[in-house]
Amino acid sequence: MPVFIEQQKYLIDYTLAALFRRKTRNLGLLLVYTLLVFLFASVLLLSQGLRREAAVLLQDAPEVIVQRLVAGRHDLLPAAWLDTLRQIRGVGEARGRLWGYYYDAAVKANYTVMAAPERKLADDRILIGAALARVRQLGIGDGFSLRAASGPPVLFKVAGVLEFSSELLSADLLLLSETSFRTLFQLPPALYTDAVLAVRNPREAAMIAQKTALALPSSRPILRSEILRTYDTVFDWREGITFLCLGSLLLAFLILAWDKAAGLSAEEKREIGILKAIGWETGDILRMKLWEGLLLSLSAFLAGYLLAWWQLFHGGAKLFSPLLKGWAVLYPDFQLTPTVDITQILILLAVTVLPYIVATLIPSWRAAIADPDAAMRG
């Protein structure tokens, strides 16, 4: 065993020296390789971060949301439904929610407006999201007017800026009292946007949803686990499509790698010829070539991964964000949590290093079997 390790050490030593002798040629390949790993790693790290963020946020989401459907469209839910829902065994609490969207022509953006009875706001007070406060340059105590559905403006006073651990939820959010919500949107008193249920035993959520659909046939119960599952699928799908788009890049890279490995320069050919003449076997040359591929791959992999990491967690994640995050005028500002995931590293190895090795196997073998005399003659 020690002999084997010694042998590999000498091979690595020689390979490194040979790589450095042809700096420009190898540097070009290394750069392209690093860029490839960087692109794939950026996609993976970003969507992993987004998926985590969504999962963390949805942890506090209600177990079951009940909506009313009219002709297949979401409609306002009568307050009487809440009593029916409360009577379902296993339901801890049923609460009607009031929320909606408000288009502000001044910033050309939609706000999410929500009644927050638990905050006990006075009717002329409002809480605003951080992104909104930034765009409208508002602070506590400032006046803020919204146009009511009937026409005249309603004036509010900013009572506070929402500070959440993540801006994903609160960026464009406005919180106000139930009365002012109804005044603003001219909503009749016994109607809600939807209802949320607290379930005593989370494992019964599916059963409760089933009972809800039976008791209120025009309702549409949505489980938290379903929202999570759908988010996961959507992110997976976006990631997959981006990967497929990067596939053409991978193909181009493989052609480059094949070409580089197959087109030996006269100098390299002479080198192999001399090595064989002084006693290297075909197997040794092959091993040297494989080490060359492995060392290049490892350097490119590490450099690409670290660059992607830096870009995402310190450089503002400019790349791929529009594609994976979605788009909005009042886009939340949020910091992704850095994580290293074994699955991601395995995926990256499988889509970058593995194809590179496949592309260089046959050219390396061809280089290794050359006859010494023919090789030296060029």
């Binding site: 949803a209 599952r229 996961d232 990631e239 997959g240 395995l346 499988a350 073998w365």
Partner: protein
């Protein structure tokens, strides 16, 4: 069909493994037909050069298969959030009939590729390539398995349909009733525990006597494979219960999670190494009587046997430690 990066990566790997092994077996077929060690013809010289390519290709396939085995389990694990009733990799592999067969094929190809590379190593040491027909025969047997694995894996991923919200009705709330089985049924723990340690004793005795009597090769190879099977059964039947400290959680994959300190890697690595080297030692020993290998094989077999016994010892030691450390009272 789901399109996720891990599925794309797995399919890419399966295609490259099948491609390289089929290419290698194409060359192998040519060698089987035209090989004549006594000839100095150009054709023979070309064939001899091709042997280098074949071993490189199979070496690559082995590495890729190992990567794909790990990635496959991780993928199943990460997809578990998208299927109602699937709590971990077991549930996702059970979603359709192709999940577990794909996993078994990956494991089988891993073992066969290791055996092939070790056989190749022994063969290259003999000056007249005495095992050439046998090893290329084995390669021709591995090739259809890789194609089968590719087909099974494609069928598995193609028929995965995640349970997501649809616009017509929000809920799939009957989900829990028709959900996939997330658990494996275990064998009775007590009997499996006896079998587990019985196998350990048998492998140890066989291994020690095999070192001096190479004729025991087939027996040792069989016992190594059986040991692998029994160990997997034991992990499902009782070892996982001890690790999770839960009498109903039988999953052999959750051991690989961070929540259990990645203890699965420490368990499976020596188990796979032990079974692969035990199997190879047993098979290679059968060629000890061939003239050009007579002097070389016993030493190689002895090294592999030590590796197998050492790895199994590591596995059993860790398994016993896990049982002793656990607060679960399963027996008595």
């Amino acid at each position: 069909m789901l399109i996720t990066p891990s599925i794309i990566a797995l399919q890419l790997t399966a295609f490259s493994v099948t491609g390289t092994v089929l290419l290698a077996s194409g060359f192998a077929g040519r060698i089987l037909r035209g090989w004549d060690i006594n000839s100095g013809s150009e054709q023979q010289l070309r064939l001899e050069r091709q042997t280098y390519l074949i071993s490189t290709l199979v070496g690559f396939a082995l590495g890729a298969e190992l990567l794909s085995l790990l990635l496959f389990i991780h993928t199943a694990e990460s997809l578990s959030s998208q299927f109602v009733g699937a709590m971990c990799a077991t549930g996702v592999l059970n979603v359709n009939a192709f999940g577990f067969p794909t996993l078994w094929l990956k494991i089988a190809i891993f073992f066969l590729a290791t055996l092939w590379l070790l056989l190749n190593r022994a063969d290259n040491q003999g000056y007249d390539y005495p095992l050439i027909r046998r090893k290329y025969g084995l390669l021709l047997a591995i090739a259809p398995l890789t194609a089968l694995e590719l087909a099974a894996q494609t069928a598995y991923f193609a028929s995965l349909k995640p349970d997501v919200i649809t616009s017509c009705c929000g809920s799939l709330f009957s989900g829990d009733n028709r959900g996939v089985a997330a658990e494996l049924a275990g064998l009775p723990p007590q009997a499996t525990l006896w079998l587990f340690y019985g196998m350990a004793g048998m492998t140890l005795i066989l291994g020690l006597s095999f070192r001096s009597r190479l004729a025991l090769g087939p027996l040792f190879a069989a016992s190594s494979l059986m040991n692998f099977g029994v160990a997997i059964a034991a992990i499902v039947a009782f070892l996982s219960l001890y690790v999770y400290e839960n009498p109903n959680h039988h999953c052999p994959f959750c051991l690989l999670k961070a929540g259990y300190d990645y203890v699965g890697y420490a368990l499976y690595l020596p188990l796979f190494v032990g079974a692969a080297s035990g199997l190879s030692a047993g098979v290679i020993a059968a060629f000890g009587s061939i003239g050009s290998l007579q002097a070389l094989i016993p030493a190689q077999v002895r090294r592999l046997t030590w590796l197998a016994l050492g790895s199994f010892a590591g596995f059993y030691l860790l398994a016993t430690l896990l049982i002793l450390r656990s607060k679960l009272v399963l027996l008595g």
